[in-house]
C-alpha cells in the first residue's frame, strides 16, 4: 500500500508558488499577444489584396498543422542559428511560439464569428446609410463578438493546457518545477497530484464560464429564431 506524504510538497511550496506565478505570467502574455496577432491575421485573411490573403491562409494552415512541441523545440534551437547567434531565452521563445499558435486559432474564430453575422443585418445597416466601416464597427463586430466569446474561452483554456510544453525548453513553470523537484525527492505521485489540482483550480472557472456562455448563446438563438 502506497503511503501518501504531502509534507514534501508543503516544504517546496515557495518554489511551486513561484512556478505558478510563471505559468500565470506566461499565459497572460500568450493571451494578449495571441489575441492581438490573431486579430491582425484575420485582417490579413479578409484583405482585398490576394497576396496578403493567401499568406494569412498559409500561416493559419501551417500553425494549425504543426505540433506545438515540435515548433517550440525548433524555434528554441534553430532560430538563434538562423538569427546569427541571437538567443531569445526560454520564456521569450515560449511566449512567441504559443502566441503564434493561439493567433492561428483566434483568427479562425474571429472569421467564423464574422461569417456568422446574418447578411440581413449588414444590408439593413448599409440601407440606413452606414458606411462599410461604420457597419463593421457598430453592427458586425458587436454581433460577431457574441458568437466568438464561447469558442474563444475554450481556445484560451486549451492554450493554458498547452503552455506546460514550455517545460521542455526549461521555462520554470509548473510542470518544469514539478518534474525538477519530484525527481529530487522521489515523490512524483504527490507532486503530480498537486500539479493536477492547481491546473484544475486555474482552469475550472474558465471551463464553467465557457459552458454557461455556450448555453446562453444557444438559448439566445432559440429565442431569436422563435
Amino acid at each position: 500500500m502506497y503511503r501518501w506524504d504531502f509534507g514534501w510538497v508543503w516544504t517546496f511550496r515557495a518554489a511551486l508558488l513561484d512556478a505558478l506565478w510563471v505559468t500565470i505570467e506566461l499565459n497572460l502574455l500568450i493571451l494578449v499577444f495571441g489575441t492581438i496577432a490573431g486579430f491582425l491575421v484575420w485582417r490579413a485573411r479578409a484583405s482585398r489584396f490576394r497576396l496578403l490573403r493567401l499568406s494569412a491562409v498559409a500561416y493559419i494552415d501551417l500553425l494549425r498543422t504543426l505540433p506545438v512541441l515540435v515548433l517550440l523545440v525548433w524555434f528554441f534551437y534553430c532560430v538563434p542559428i538562423l538569427l546569427g547567434g541571437i538567443r531569445l531565452g526560454p520564456m521569450v521563445s515560449a511566449v512567441i511560439v504559443l502566441s503564434l499558435n493561439l493567433s492561428a486559432f483566434t483568427a479562425e474564430i474571429i472569421r467564423a464569428g464574422i461569417d456568422g453575422v446574418p447578411v440581413g443585418h449588414v444590408e439593413s445597416a448599409r440601407a440606413c446609410g452606414l458606411s462599410a466601416h461604420q457597419t463593421l464597427r457598430r453592427i458586425v463586430l458587436p454581433i460577431a463578438f457574441r458568437n466568438m466569446v464561447p469558442p474563444m474561452v475554450g481556445q484560451y483554456i486549451n492554450s493554458v493546457k498547452l503552455s506546460v510544453l514550455a517545460s521542455i525548453i526549461a521555462v520554470p513553470e509548473l510542470l518544469q518545477k514539478t518534474v525538477d523537484i519530484s525527481s529530487r525527492v522521489y515523490r512524483p505521485l504527490e507532486f503530480y497530484t498537486v500539479l493536477a489540482a492547481l491546473f484544475l483550480l486555474l482552469l475550472l472557472p474558465g471551463t464553467i464560464l465557457s459552458r454557461r456562455l455556450e448555453a446562453g448563446e444557444h438559448n439566445r438563438r432559440l429565442t431569436t429564431s422563435g
Partner: protein
Amino acid sequence: MLKPAELSTMPTHDRNSYTLEFQKVVRRYHVDRGLGPVTFTIRPGMVCSVIGPNGSGKTTLIRTAALFELPESGDVYLCGETRPTADAEVDRIRGRLIGTVFQHAELWPHLSLRDNIMLPLREALCHSKSSAREVADQELQSFGLLDRALAMPNQLSGGLKQRAVLARCLALRPKLLLLDEITSALDPDWTEVVKQRLLSFARDGGSVVSVSHRLNWVRRMSDWIIYLENGLIVEQGPPAEVIDSPTQPGLQRFIENA
C-alpha cells in the same frame, strides 16, 4: 444628368420631376431569373405597388432601386440624377434619400429598440444624441412601441419587430421608401396603421415603392401598380385598370388565385 440624345427623343420627359426612374434597366442572374429590361417612373407623392408571382423580379427591382445591385444595362435615376457609383455617394444617398426595408429585415440584436433607431440617425445623419433620441421616440410612439423602447429585439414578437424596422427606416426621413413585403407579420389593425402612415408620408411628398402579396392592401393603398412576370413589366397602371380589369392572362390568373 440629362443626356442630349434622350432629350431629343423624349421632349416632354422632365427627369427632375421624378423621384425614381428606371430606363430599360436589366439585372439578370441567369437567363430566366432577375429583372429587365424594365422602364417606369415614380413621381413625388406616388404610392406604387409591385406585384407578381414568385421569382418575377420584385425583390431584384427593389434591390436595384436601393443601389444594392448594379444594372447590367439601362439607367437608374434618383431625383433626376444618374445612379452614383462612388461608395461614399451611395452611402449618402441611402441615408438621406432612400429608405429601404428588405424582406425578412431584422433589428440589430445587440441594441435595444430605441438604440436600433438612434444608431443610423447618429452615424449616417450625424444627429446629436438628444435629437436622435427625440426622433426615435417620436417614431416609436407612432408605431405603438414607446413603452418597449428599452426592450431587446429577442424579447419582441415578429409583428412588433416589423413595425420597429419600418420605424427605423422612417426615422431617417427619406424621400423614397422601398419596401419589400413589410406587412407579412402584421395583424389587420396594424396593417391599417402602417397604410395610413405610408399615405401620410406620400401626402407630404414622399414616394413609396412597395412589394406586397396582399392584393387587398395593394388596391386600397396604391395609385400605381406594376405587375411583373419573368422579370418584365407585363402590365402597369392605376389599380382600377390593373386589378379590376386586367388584360393579360397571367395577371388575370394571378388576381383570381390571390
